[in-house]
């Protein structure tokens, strides 16, 4: 057990943001979720047993559920154009890439909840199976099975030519990026 160092939490921001995007399905909701997660975690001193990233995953999952519960109790109101934040200027310089990432993360957000959490914990946040199992209060074997099926769905969704094995535009461009 050790005291959580607030200063070291900033290093997980990028990965936590992507995980939040994959959970919520939108960049704007992801920003809110990450900000609220940090605010909750930093509201008082914490003593943690696990890895910081696993702890943040657990905190973010709890915050995510709490937001869902609050949203379900709130009367639904249509958003106006004024509610939409101006896009991040950096994404504006790379609209193609923003679309690719958004496409993949949106696909994850549409997976069944258990599959989504498993793939976010392991493939987006980079937790080990054991860490993911602890963070998600599940058995390690359950996590690996869910992960297998979640990956299967994502891969199939982006594989628009199964016989040629070429994959979708998003997949092709991600491969190009890797080869650069």
């Amino acid at each position: 057990m050790r005291r959580l160092d607030p200063k070291s939490l900033g290093q997980h921001l990028d990965v936590l943001y992507r995980a939040a995007w994959a959970l919520c399905g939108s960049r704007e909701d992801a920003e809110d979720l990450v900000q609220e997660t940090y605010a909750r975690v930093l509201a008082r001193p914490r003593v943690i047993r696990e890895d910081e990233r696993a702890y943040l995953m657990r905190a973010m999952r709890n915050t995510f559920y709490s937001r869902l519960r609050t949203a379900s109790r709130r009367p639904q109101q249509a958003a106006t154009l004024d509610d939409i934040e101006p896009p991040d200027p950096r994404a504006g310089n790379r609209p193609d890439r923003a679309a690719e990432f958004g496409e993949v993360l949106k696909a994850i957000s549409e997976l069944p909840e258990d599959f989504r959490l498993a793939i976010v914990a392991v493939d987006v946040l980079g937790l080990s199976y054991g860490e993911a199992a602890k963070a998600l209060d599940a058995r390690e074997a359950t996590i690996t099975t869910r992960l297998y099926r979640a990956r299967q769905r994502i891969a199939k969704q982006f594989d628009d030519s199964p016989h040629s094995g070429e994959g979708s535009a998003a997949q092709r461009s991600l491969s190009v990026k890797e080869n650069r």
Binding site: P6, K7, L9, G10, L13, D14, Y17, R18, W21, R27, E28, E31, D32, V34, Q35, E36, Y38, A39, L42, A43, R44, P45, Q77, A78, A79, T80, D82, D83, E85, D88, R90, A91, R97, A98, F101, V104, L105, I119, D123, V124, Y129, A141, T144, T145, L147, Y148, R149, R151, Q152, I154, A155, K156, F158, D159, G165, A170, Q171, L174, K177, E178
Partner: protein
């Protein structure tokens, strides 16, 4: 044809991302060589892993700045505990001086102590995204919106200052409700937050008195913010790329109207 449930799913998942122990890896590889179905399942897993692990979209700079302020603020409030331990060491004068400096920083940043929200946390919310539509003007009270916290209504600036209410959000920190209304004028945006309950501790910055009210003006993470007390509650107005005169005029507008 192998049934889906008969596939060694966990092992295939682990092989695809490199976490399968070496002894199991060799055994599974041998099975895969003999089974096109297993080979195909592994390819699917590997394709997904490649795609997912290539995701490298960074967090937006605005979010990064807000998180940095939160972590810095939390680190500073945690520091006096360490100073207490140092006092028992040989470096008493240095430790005492450090504790005083840290305490001054905590006051400077407006820590409310315990779990109460702080001024920086409230400012983060005032700079965050709206989560609900803006409240309408209150037809019964000209110059005010139909949204209030502890009896304090949010101002309706559109007619007098040209700032349109564009959205709102409600957050809870340490059991205290913080309601924020966002206003825009010619592409500039400010957030006006009211914190329920007792006023928050505030310090530092520049103190300006207007109409008998003390306004505290500070810069934080590239944003300008003004804090003041109204009806026993803390109000915070903050914005990026908004000059101090404009922000002060918006903060003081309500007082002028009340007078």
């Amino acid at each position: 044809m192998t049934d889906q449930s008969q596939l060694p799913e966990a092992e295939l998942a682990a092989l695809a991302d490199g976490s399968l122990p070496a002894d199991q890896r060799a055994r599974l590889r041998a099975r895969i060589e003999a089974s096109p179905e297993l080979a195909s399942a592994l390819t699917v897993q590997e394709r997904a892993v490649t795609m997912l692990r290539a995701l490298d979209e960074p967090a937006p700079s605005t979010l990064r700045a807000r998180v940095r302020e939160m972590t810095d603020g939390a680190a500073q409030t945690a520091r006096p505990r360490r100073a207490w331990h140092w006092r028992r060491s040989l470096f008493v004068p240095a430790a005492t001086a450090l504790a005083v400096a840290v305490a001054a920083l905590v006051v400077l940043l407006g820590s409310g102590g315990s779990s109460a929200p702080t001024v920086p946390q409230t400012a983060h919310l005032a700079l965050a995204a709206a989560t609900s539509p803006a409240p309408a003007e209150d037809p019964a009270h000209s110059g005010l919106l139909r949204l209030h916290v502890g009896g304090i209504a949010f101002p309706y600036y559109a007619r007098t200052a040209g700032w349109e209410a564009t959205g709102a959000r409600t957050d809870t920190i340490g059991g205290r409700r913080i309601v924020t209304v966002f206003y825009m004028e010619q592409g500039h945006r400010v957030g006006y937050a009211i914190v329920s309950g007792a006023p928050l501790a505030a310090g530092g910055g520049k103190l300006i008195t207007e109409g008998g009210v003390s306004y505290r003006m500070q810069r934080t993470g590239g944003a300008l913010l003004i804090t003041w007390r109204q009806g026993g509650h803390t109000c915070v107005i903050a914005g990026h790329r908004v000059n101090s005169a404009t922000l002060l005029a918006l903060a003081a507008a309500e007082q002028r109207q009340a007078a």
